[in-house]
Point group: C2
Chain length 247, copies 2
């Protein structure tokens, strides 16, 4: 690694240089989300979204996580592996602003960004040999993890930080605004039914899709779930089918 | 990027695969720290440690940071570029534990880790064209930055998170426990003198170095500063000289 090589303004960051870095997964994250649609837009928003950090064989020895006992939260540095390689878009259109206002990619948490690296803060549920069971995931199943770091609240907890355009916590619907008929809950089981309800309480569909006749679908925990907008801004689940097993 | 390629337990993460990723700097961080010794061990610990995120030409257009106004804090995803490439050490010896207890690399924030990626939370002082002036840096001058993300307190502020072996905030000496003779403060200027005092208030020297005759040195903001342990656990600066300009 050569320091100072970025000093030359004529160099292009598109070409590898001494400060470029090839990162390789140390683990992958198993989650209930088979596809991007329906994934919570930040970590921690859906506590019921459980995941599993599965270390690759080279990093699976218990020594690698020795001392992680007693930490309630960990960082996952992830890759947005299902997003296209970033090309040159300086701006993005965050769904929170209705999808029609452009903001700088470095002023947003959009997945389509230079280097495609994500940052998720998750709650530790269980530390096992070669794995960590976590809650509050916000990533597609199979997401590569490039690093795991303990969370340090005296450094990283700033409840009074200001957030410009992002405002405060995202809008969450009242539980009764999501209508999941009991027959579907029975089919999916209580745990998955609660997870589906929590996801739909968040503003999962784009804000500019307010067409009441439009239907939506997502795949969660092995179930294809379809819903539409009902009266009084409710969301009504109208179909639940087992996901056809891939491969 | 091919999903599922980590599924094969026989693959080695030392070989690039579909989930490996070449990351390139989008910016570099200018800091007062010419060398690793003396760098605060976490971001935010020394508010007086100011830095400057200087975007590379490809990312310097104001569009890239449009909307960052109003955010008090940002994340920097950095590279520990002065650390050797990680080889195979599953454990590290954190300085906070006196350097003689081994903990898993994923249970620590040690710089010598797989993929060598760092995470710093810094305070935004000024947003300018092609740069961001920040406070609370914890990195060597010239550190590559692979991503800049806004801080979201409703997701990332967990003041009550538990921290296992790391306990609470690090030990900080009383201001009067650092003796910086007025003659040196005059030479360096007030701003640098305060920065040097703040750094020395932190436990900058390894805990297992308690030899009162031993001397230490660091280079901060263009000054070589030398100190030793004095009576009553004080630290006494005994030499301040301008750093010879490199190159």
């Amino acid at each position: 690694m050569e320091n100072g090589s970025v000093n030359d303004p004529s160099r292009s960051p598109s070409k590898p240089d001494g400060l470029a870095r090839l990162v390789r997964p140390v683990a992958r994250l198993r989650t209930p989300f088979a596809e991007k649609f329906g994934v919570p837009r930040q970590s921690g928003l859906v506590a019921e979204a459980e995941g599993r950090v599965e270390f690759l064989p080279e990093f699976a020895a218990p020594e690698f996580t020795r001392g992680l006992e007693g930490f309630s939260h960990i960082w996952l540095l992830t890759g947005f592996h299902e997003n296209p390689i970033w090309t040159s878009g300086a701006t993005v259109r965050p769904p929170r602003l209705g999808g029609n206002e452009r903001l700088g990619v470095f002023a947003s948490r959009a997945p389509n960004r230079p280097n495609g690296l994500g940052l998720s803060l998750v709650h530790v549920l269980e530390l096992g040999p070669g794995f960590i069971r976590v809650a509050g995931v916000d990533a597609v199943d199979g997401t590569p993890i490039y690093d795991v770091k303990p969370y340090l609240p005296w450094v990283e907890a700033h409840p009074d930080a200001t957030t410009g355009w992002a405002g405060g916590a995202p809008f969450v619907r009242q539980p009764e605004a999501v209508i999941l008929p009991e027959e579907y809950a029975l089919v999916m089981g209580d745990v998955t039914a609660v997870l589906v309800k929590r996801i739909l309480q968040l503003d999962v569909q784009p804000a500019y899709h307010d067409d009441p006749d439009r239907t939506y679908g997502m795949t969660v925990a092995g179930w294809n779930v379809r819903w539409r907008t009902g009266p009084d801004s409710t969301l009504v689940v109208y179909e639940v089918t087992p996901r056809e097993t891939p491969k």
